[in-house]
């Protein structure tokens, strides 16, 4: 029989026992829906985690420190090249990094512990400079207020917990001023003969520095949940963010300054405590890391953490998929049951078809198409139902988050591949379920079938 005739007959047969076939199809739909809903939650959570991490700016960023830098909180050196002499992390090195392919920008980490005064009360906080490029990275999506008005504005963005320390109503802080009290480095006359000419004269340049207390008034323009691009190396997350250009001009004494003086040994002095090198995409981080390492610097990125995260979500999605498949397996039994019942009911009809010239294959294909049609419609409704379930979970979660004064999240996501896979999987599973009934129908003896009342 031609495919169109087969489909016509199959649809006609399905319409005849509409209620039973609709319920069977609904069973498939529920199975597919549970699969799609589970996986959409898995994918949604993965995207949420990936988005949060990418907003942190860590996955496309390589943190470069000089070889002789502390590896944070007393951790032992694991680099096999640790014994080799390292290079200074100065402007020369910075320009070399900027010239590397696939590098968007290179900026120093300006991060220091200091005092902040608000309403004449002192607060201790880590302050960090934010590069202007983070304006469009999505890192500040959902923040209260706005991003810095310019790259060198005297403005501040507060971390929400710090804002809560300052005021019971954090949003009322927007537009108000606070005072940043910091220790400015002022270079002492150098005793070394060959200072690095490229170093900023304000920076510690070999002979040591004096520390002068300074004040800076900053206008609070925004409040953010967590610090994007949180630093590493034990400096701690910043509670106050300010434009990087503004922070750089302060020449505030940083954690590494004392170390630089101790390690000072001539022209190869470290100018920067660390530099952040941003790659065009996370996929280029690994190659860049290797290149910079060969240049004689310590590098660190969260690439390995990202790989572990992907592995975790693959396992997580597989588990969700297995649970989703259980419901589909039950639905499969429903299809087998429906088609076996149909064989019993249509036994005589099968005999008539064979007497009129239907081959075994025609009868087999007819039942197969009926199973496939139920699978297709089950798949379509299932994907739709799964999407709706995912939306319902997201809406329910967001209502809860809203009550907790937290930002809404997108918990479930149905990508195109999940839609197609759900549909194809439903049809394939249904066809597999139709194998036995179809084969049984095809093998019916026409003489016996015609005698059947």
């Amino acid at each position: 029989m031609k495919p169109r005739d087969l489909t016509d007959l199959a649809l006609r047969n399905l319409r005849e026992a509409l209620l039973r076939n609709a319920l069977t199809t609904l069973g498939v739909a529920v199975g597919v829906a549970s699969l799609v809903a589970m996986l959409s939650l898995g994918v949604g959570l993965q995207q949420l985690a990936a988005k949060r991490l990418s907003q942190s700016g860590l996955f496309d960023t390589i943190f470069v420190t000089p070889k002789n830098a502390f590896r944070g909180m007393g951790r032992p050196q694991r680099d096999p090249d640790a014994d080799k002499p390292g290079r200074s992390l100065n402007d020369t090195a910075r320009r070399e990094f900027e010239a590397l392919p696939n590098v968007i920008e290179v900026y120093p980490q300006v991060r220091f512990f200091t005092e902040i005064r608000f309403n004449n009360r002192p607060y201790a906080a880590v302050v960090a400079g934010m590069p202007d490029s983070s304006r469009n990275s999505g890192a500040f999506d959902g923040m209260q207020g706005t991003f810095f008005s310019s790259a060198a504005a005297n403005e501040a963005i507060l971390q929400i917990e710090f804002a809560k320390d300052l005021s019971d109503k954090p949003s009322s802080l927007l537009g108000q001023e606070l005072v940043l009290r910091y220790a400015e480095r002022q270079a002492l006359p150098s005793t070394a003969a060959n200072n690095d000419a490229s170093a900023n004269p304000g920076e510690s340049s070999g002979g040591g520095f004096s520390v002068v207390p300074k004040d800076l008034h900053l206008k609070i323009v925004g409040i953010v949940e967590t610090e994007p691009a949180a630093g590493y190396g034990g400096y701690g997350n910043a509670r106050l963010l300010m434009p990087l250009a503004t922070a750089s001009t302060l020449r505030a004494a940083q954690v590494n300054d004392l170390r630089d003086i101790v390690h000072d040994s001539g022209p190869a002095k470290t100018t920067y405590a660390s530099l952040s090198v941003r790659a065009k995409s996370p996929s280029q981080v690994e190659a860049l890391e290797a290149t910079i390492k060969k240049m004689g610097f310590n590098v660190f990125s969260l690439l390995d953490a990202s790989k572990s995260l992907r592995t975790f979500f693959t396992v997580f999605d597989s588990l969700l998929g297995i649970f989703g498949c259980l419901a589909l397996a039950v639905a499969t039994l429903g299809i087998v049951n429906t088609l076996v019942m149909a064989i019993l009911e249509r036994r005589r009809e099968i005999g008539v078809l064979k007497a009129l010239g239907a081959a075994d294959a025609d009868v087999q294909q007819l039942f197969f198409v009926e199973a496939g049609v139920m699978g297709f419609f089950g798949g379509v409704f299932g994907v739709l139902l799964g999407w709706m379930l995912g939306r319902a979970v997201t809406i329910g979660t967001n209502l809860y988050l809203q009550r907790q004064n937290l930002n809404p999240v997108e918990l479930s996501y149905v990508p195109w591949w999940l839609t197609i896979s759900g549909l194809v999987f439903a049809v394939l599973v249904s066809l597999a379920a139709g194998l036995y009934p179809a084969s049984r129908a095809a093998k019916l003896n026409p003489v016996d079938a015609l005698r059947y009342e």
Binding site: R4, L9, R12, R348, A355, L356, G357, A359, D360, L450
Partner: protein, 237 residues
């Protein structure tokens, strides 16, 4: 009128069934020849093996031994698919209980063999109408079988059997569910169609008077064996 070449040739055909430890000989060593364009009536009491013999000729069943040559082809050598094609293109069948599919209209019932024969869709409506014209039921084309009388249903079954223009028409007790007058009308129709379209008819019946009125030959069966064959109004052959 029958021609010399046989349309169906049975040679020592047997069909045995296992029933527990015993073997039932439903058809036992039957040899029979049916000429082209002949109308043969198979007579016999219930369980005489006439319907089993008809199923063997239809290719719905296979003989335990012996050979069946239908229009030059030995059915025993045909595969399952070839037998299906033989039923589709060479054979037309009508049954005592009509066996129309109740959820389909007359048009769809008659179209069914055309679907199985993969006849072009554009050609089908004309073929269906032509078949229904032969049985004078074109005006009921959109009706369902349950809306028709027994005689009308059997006429639809005849139209369905004829739509693929078969060379052999097999009828299993076609008048069994009909009153005498309707039965006669159905057989008269079969006879008329045979002369119009030219085909061989083998009909199983236990109504001897009807058979004698319409068939060219009668074959009588008993206990699976062919007891006798008669030319109508003639002497035993």
């Amino acid at each position: 009128m029958p021609t010399a070449d046989p349309a169906i040739q049975l040679d020592r055909v047997s069909r045995h069934y296992a029933m527990g430890d015993t073997s039932v000989r439903a058809v036992n060593e039957v040899s029979l020849s049916v000429a082209n364009n002949e109308f043969l009536a198979l007579l016999g009491s219930s369980g005489s093996g006439k319907s089993t013999l008809l199923n063997l000729i239809a290719g719905l069943d296979r003989p335990t031994s012996g050979s069946i040559i239908a229009r030059g082809r030995n059915l025993a050598s045909l595969s399952s698919l070839e037998l299906a094609r033989y039923r589709c293109h060479t054979i037309g069948m009508i049954f005592q209980s009509f066996n129309l599919l109740p959820r389909m209209t007359l048009e769809e019932n008659v179209e069914l063999p055309l679907r199985l024969a993969e006849v072009d869709r554009a050609e089908r409506p004309a073929r269906v109408r032509e078949a229904l014209e032969h049985v004078s039921l074109t005006h009921r084309i959109g009706h369902r079988p349950t809306q028709l009388s027994g005689g009308e249903q059997q006429r639809v079954a005849i139209a369905r059997a004829l739509v693929n223009r078969p060379k052999i028409l097999l009828a299993d007790e076609p008048t069994g569910n009909l009153d005498t007058a309707t039965g006669e009308a159905i057989l008269a129709l079969l006879r008329e169609l045979q002369s119009q379209l030219g085909m061989t008819i083998v009909m199983v019946t236990h109504e001897r008077p009807l058979a004698e009125a319409f068939a060219d030959h009668l074959a009588t069966m008993g206990d699976g064996k062919l007891l006798s064959t008669f030319a109508v109004k003639g002497v035993p052959q």
